[in-house]
């Protein structure tokens, strides 16, 4: 280009993931940048 049941979800997950294209440099830095004032 139970396990089987779980993978039936994947087309939906792929669609969700691809739908994010175009809609969106660390997490630790962001946590500190957005801290509650005074903490």
């Amino acid at each position: 280009a139970a396990a089987a049941r779980a993978l039936e979800d994947f087309p939906a997950l792929i669609r969700e993931f691809e739908a994010l294209r175009g809609t969106i440099p660390t997490f630790e830095a962001a946590l500190r940048a957005e801290k509650e004032p005074g903490t």
């Binding site: 139970a2 993978l7 979800d9 993931f17 969106i24 997490f27 962001a30 946590l31 509650e36």
Partner: protein, 470 residues
């Protein structure tokens, strides 16, 4: 003191401190209640009666000499069976670890010990903390004490059910996608997951490197505030634990909501929500407004991406942790769990990297959307009424998959965002099962979220109700 099991954690400590109840009496009351009723609820995996009574006797002796162990002295607690004590079995709710004896101690447990909490043993949980319902093939399902055929929420099922049933005053749970807040909501108790890295994860079974949290379930926000202060803070044994100083969370519980602004996101949290849940949530907002809070509806477009990325991160990290056992003994997992893990191996690495890379920017975007002009976010803890164990049993009927996974839809986003989040009881649905209100704050804003929860509990009695266990 007529019924010592009716006391919350802080009330039990106060009774002990004032000499109104001995630690031994508090522990014995818990043991009697467990013996009478846990056969139906199935919240306990291992009961350490003798050790608990010895610890209680030691505390009574110390108190007689004028020594109080700490802010949780005399308080009976039990914990999700994934907190390690060196040499003691920690099953993690699994067959694979049925005889696992760790060589290290959980820092959270050691801190509770130092504060005087009395550890009575370990609690039922979802296998390896990986379902939101309380099903457990190996130790038996945990049952909701409000109505036994209904689920408890998971994965900290025994923690939620046991606190609700008044078997003990408080318990540790863990929360990777809602595993503290879901059983708190579904069993009608209060629970908090802190800011990501706020509490040490040393000596705790891992599930997701990025999103695991340690936290308490108890009767009240005040109980949670006290326990969070005890267990939070940097730990040399957990290099990821946050260095920020730990405030006195109880000091923040003023009850004064004047000037507080509450944001209610219009996306995500109400999709397909049951009417009774929405009505209960709206009624809880009125309570906050009556205390002086202002409530605003806000738009949070970031939630769509957050909801997708969180599923990618948790699945890949859990599958990675379990890879060796999945290669060697996949049949020792319940089908619903091995099925979930198999899915994790099929997710492309690029998706996982993208999901982690977007986490910082999306946290900042969500804060701009929801918290730039507001102090906290409020949502229903669950979109749906509490389902039965049968309705959410995937192993019995794979068609239950969607309902099973929908349980945690409203809790998962806050794990990806890493925000401190409380669930507290806010009423009962039309079948008599509890409903929960979820309050999230900015990073390290545990005190703010608990302050709102405590203010709500000053004007409502939902948290004080107990199930009638015949």
């Amino acid at each position: 003191m007529s019924d010592l099991t009716a006391l919350s954690a802080t009330e039990a400590h106060d009774a002990f401190r004032k000499g109104e109840a001995t630690a031994e009496a508090l522990v014995r009351a818990s043991l009697v209640r467990i013996d009478a009723h846990d056969g139906k609820v199935n919240s306990v995996i291992r009961l350490d009666s003798d050790a608990a009574l010895e610890a209680a006797a030691a505390q009574d002796k110390a108190r007689a000499a004028g020594i109080l162990a700490g802010p949780l002295a005399g308080v009976p607690m039990m914990h999700k069976d994934m907190y390690y004590r060196a040499g003691k079995v920690s099953t993690c709710g699994s067959a694979i670890r049925r005889d696992f004896r760790p060589e290290r101690n959980s820092t959270a447990l050691l801190r509770l010990d130092a504060a005087g909490a009395i550890d009575m043993g370990t609690l039922n949980m979802a296998e390896f903390a990986q379902n939101p319902t309380g099903h457990n093939r190996h130790f038996g399902d945990c049952h909701n004490p409000w109505n036994l055929p209904y689920c408890t929420g998971g994965s900290s099922s025994g923690s939620g059910a046991g606190v609700a049933a008044r078997f003990f005053a408080a318990a540790l749970g863990s929360d990777t996608g809602g595993s503290i807040r879901l059983p708190a909501s579904i069993c009608g108790v209060t629970g908090i997951k802190g800011t990501q890295t706020r509490v040490s994860r040393a000596g705790v079974m891992p599930l997701s490197f990025s999103m695991d949290n340690v936290g308490p379930l108890a009767r009240t926000a005040r109980d949670c505030a006290r326990i969070m202060r005890v267990i939070s803070g940097h730990d040399p044994a957990d290099a990821t634990s946050a260095p920020e100083p730990v405030p006195d969370y109880e000091a923040a519980l003023t009850g004064d909501l004047r000037g507080l602004s509450v944001a209610v996101p219009q996306e995500w949290f109400f999709e397909g929500a049951d009417d009774v849940v929405v009505k209960g949530f709206e009624a809880s907002l009125e309570v906050l407004k009556a205390r002086g809070a202002k409530v605003s509806r806000v738009s949070c477009p970031s939630l769509r991406a957050i909801g997708t990325y969180v599923a990618v991160v948790s699945r890949v990290e859990a599958a990675t942790i379990h890879a060796q056992w999945m290669r060697e003994r996949a049949d020792d997992y319940a089908k619903h769990l091995s099925g979930r893990l198999y899915g994790g191996y099929a997710i492309p690495g690029t998706w996982y990297v993208e999901a982690l890379s977007a986490r910082g920017p999306l946290l900042r975007q969500f804060c701009r959307e929801a918290l730039a002009e507001h102090h906290v976010v409020a949502t229903p803890s669950l979109r749906m009424r509490v389902p039965t164990l049968a309705e959410t049993d995937i192993d019995a009927d794979p068609a239950n998959w969607a309902r099973h996974m929908a349980i945690s839809a409203n809790t998962r986003p806050f794990n990806y965002l890493g925000l401190p989040t409380v669930s507290l009881p806010c009423g009962f649905d039309d079948r008599g099962l509890p409903m929960g209100l979820q309050i999230a704050a900015r990073p390290f804003g545990e005190g703010r979220a608990l302050m709102v929860a405590d203010a709500y509990q000053r004007d409502t009695g939902w948290h004080a109700r107990a199930p009638a266990l015949a």
